[in-house]
């Protein structure tokens, strides 16, 4: 069991080493992140001038957005790599290895996440503090780190599920766009879900998306860092993580059954 896990740790370490070398991409993400936060700081200020529609103030909403964006930007787009691997037929070579194809892809994504997440978290916090001149209570900020990382891993699982659709679809990008936009809307990327009309709030509650974004990000808003709230968020992350794992396992099993290998 331990030796089997070590294989995947090695996959993660190799991916992390590669990510550390690709500094340009990481730097680009950090700049993009800073710009987005700058744009939204201006937007929330403008909305504060017009009369804020919810209890949270503009500063808290900038920190909320910094956390949701941190989670989104940290999650690796593993579906693109899987699609390429399946299209080119590389997947066949990897199926014969003594390590799960899906498991190794997930481990590589976690390795990338382990490099990206701390740097983007630093960018989020520095920019949010600079733009708002305010820092949330350190305890609630501290909780966002493990929960945000877990949420990014859950999003990575969803990307993995989308990538495996390439066994049946020519291009998985349209599925990704829809999933991403559903995540933006039902996850509460830019606005806390409390702002939504009732019907949308109800619909969002039936999806995993609020657990992926609004759950961890709401920890920086007041009255959201209580013990029961953290327990509920942990339970939801575990439940949706299990659902995603089962969905990926079942999908890959179906894909292997339908796969036809020709040539050598």
């Amino acid at each position: 069991m331990f030796a089997a896990a070590l294989k995947y740790v090695a996959f993660a370490r190799v991916a992390a080493a590669l990510a550390r070398r690709d500094r340009g991409e990481l730097f680009g993400r950090m700049v993009f992140f800073a710009v987005i936060l700058g744009v939204f700081t201006s937007l929330w200020r403008a909305i504060a001038d017009a009369g804020m529609p919810i209890a949270a103030d503009a500063k808290q909403l900038v920190w909320y957005l910094a956390t949701t964006e941190w989670i989104i930007l940290s999650a690796p787009m593993v579906h693109m790599d899987l699609q390429e691997s399946i299209r080119r037929g590389d997947v066949v070579c990897r199926l014969g290895r003594p390590a799960s194809y899906v498991g190794s892809a997930f481990a590589e994504a976690l390795g990338l996440l382990a490099v990206r997440a701390p740097l983007l978290a630093a960018t989020a916090w520095i920019c949010a503090a600079a733009f708002t001149g305010w820092i949330p209570p350190l305890a609630s900020l501290g909780w966002t780190l493990p929960f945000g990382f877990a949420a990014a891993a859950l999003i990575t699982g969803m990307h993995l599920w989308i990538g495996l659709l390439a066994f049946w679809l020519e291009d998985v990008s349209p599925v990704f766009w829809i999933a991403q936009k559903l995540l933006f809307v039902f996850g509460g990327l830019m606005l806390p879900i409390d702002l939504y009309p009732t019907a949308m709030r109800t619909a969002a509650a039936l999806t995993p998306f609020p657990t992926m974004l609004a759950g961890p990000a709401s920890l920086v808003l007041p009255l959201n860092g209580s013990g029961s709230g953290l327990g509920m968020l942990t339970a939801r992350l575990l439940a949706w993580g299990t659902v995603t794992a089962v969905a990926v396992w079942w999908e890959f099993r179906r894909a292997r059954a339908t796969l036809t290998i020709n040539g050598g």
């Binding site: 744009v39 017009a50 529609p53 020519e170 349209p174 809307v185 606005l191 702002l195 939504y196």
Partner: protein
């Protein structure tokens, strides 16, 4: 004059060729178009929810934002439909894949831009036009000016894409950076102009001309004046000429990839 009409008919031939290729995979084509429309509608939910609570953000109402979003989406769609090769220009330069185009009698830049068509661009174009119509802010009499605004927006976007991707002549592999710069341009163009002030505002009308991709064309469609029409057309022409000059300058530094390949 005849050289220009030759180039125009060459561009039309490339577009027709790309359309035939896209139509060969009708299912995938239709899916990309439909999903892009859904993608854009989903993105707009943010504004819809926000503006229900705050109907006026520094003088911008929901209808104004619909026109802005429509112009940028339609402009982007037009750019990647007619000149989808712009997104791959940096890679062509870096990998030495311009070789096959250099030996042909047509302008290299024109050929490289017309090599590809992004099917989802049709979805952007259609949803952009739908947003403009839905806004109720643009009368039928102003429709030709709205079309002019979309073309102007597309040309400035295209020009910026050419410049960002042409950095590959000097800096090597800039694919990720160029893509992120283009994303930044689009991000800024999608938010109301009064959110930005000072040096940033100046930058948005010069170095990163989001103002000329979004605000000026949107205002032209919304409240048309001759001065705005002249400004939009002149800006598009200036940026396009500048982009062509940058590409020509870079082409002198181009190092062949010594790669054998054929473009149909």
């Amino acid at each position: 004059m005849s050289r220009h009409s030759n180039n125009l008919s060459f561009m039309c031939a490339l577009l027709a060729n790309n359309l035939k290729a896209a139509a060969a995979l009708r299912g995938a084509f239709a899916m990309q178009v439909v999903f892009m429309i859904l993608n854009n509608v989903t993105f707009f939910v943010f504004w819809w929810v926000l503006m229900r609570r705050v109907p006026d953000v520094r003088g911008w109402r929901l209808g104004d934002i619909e026109v802005l979003f429509g112009i940028v989406a339609a402009g982007f769609g037009l750019a990647v439909t007619v000149a989808g090769g712009v997104r791959h220009l940096g890679r062509l330069i870096h990998d030495g894949e311009l070789d096959t185009l250099l030996t042909q009698p047509k302008p290299v830049l024109l050929h490289a831009l017309g090599l590809r068509l992004q099917a989802s661009g049709f979805g952007d174009l259609m949803s952009g036009v739908a947003f403009i119509a839905w806004s109720g802010q643009v009368s039928w009499r102003a429709a030709p000016l709205a079309a002019l605004a979309i073309v102007a927006s597309a040309l400035v976007l295209l020009a910026c894409g050419i410049v960002f991707q042409s950095l590959a002549f000097w800096l090597g592999n800039v694919e990720a950076v160029a893509r992120q710069l283009w994303d930044l341009l689009i991000t800024f163009a999608l938010y109301p102009e009064p959110l930005f002030g000072g040096v940033l505002r100046l930058m948005l009308f010069t170095l990163l001309p989001a103002g000329l991709v979004g605000y000026v064309p949107a205002r032209l469609a919304h409240r048309p004046t001759i001065a705005l029409a002249v400004l939009a057309v002149a800006a598009a022409a200036v940026y396009l000429i500048a982009a062509a000059l940058v590409f020509e300058r870079g082409l002198k530094r181009y190092a062949s990839g010594s790669r054998f390949g054929v473009h149909g």
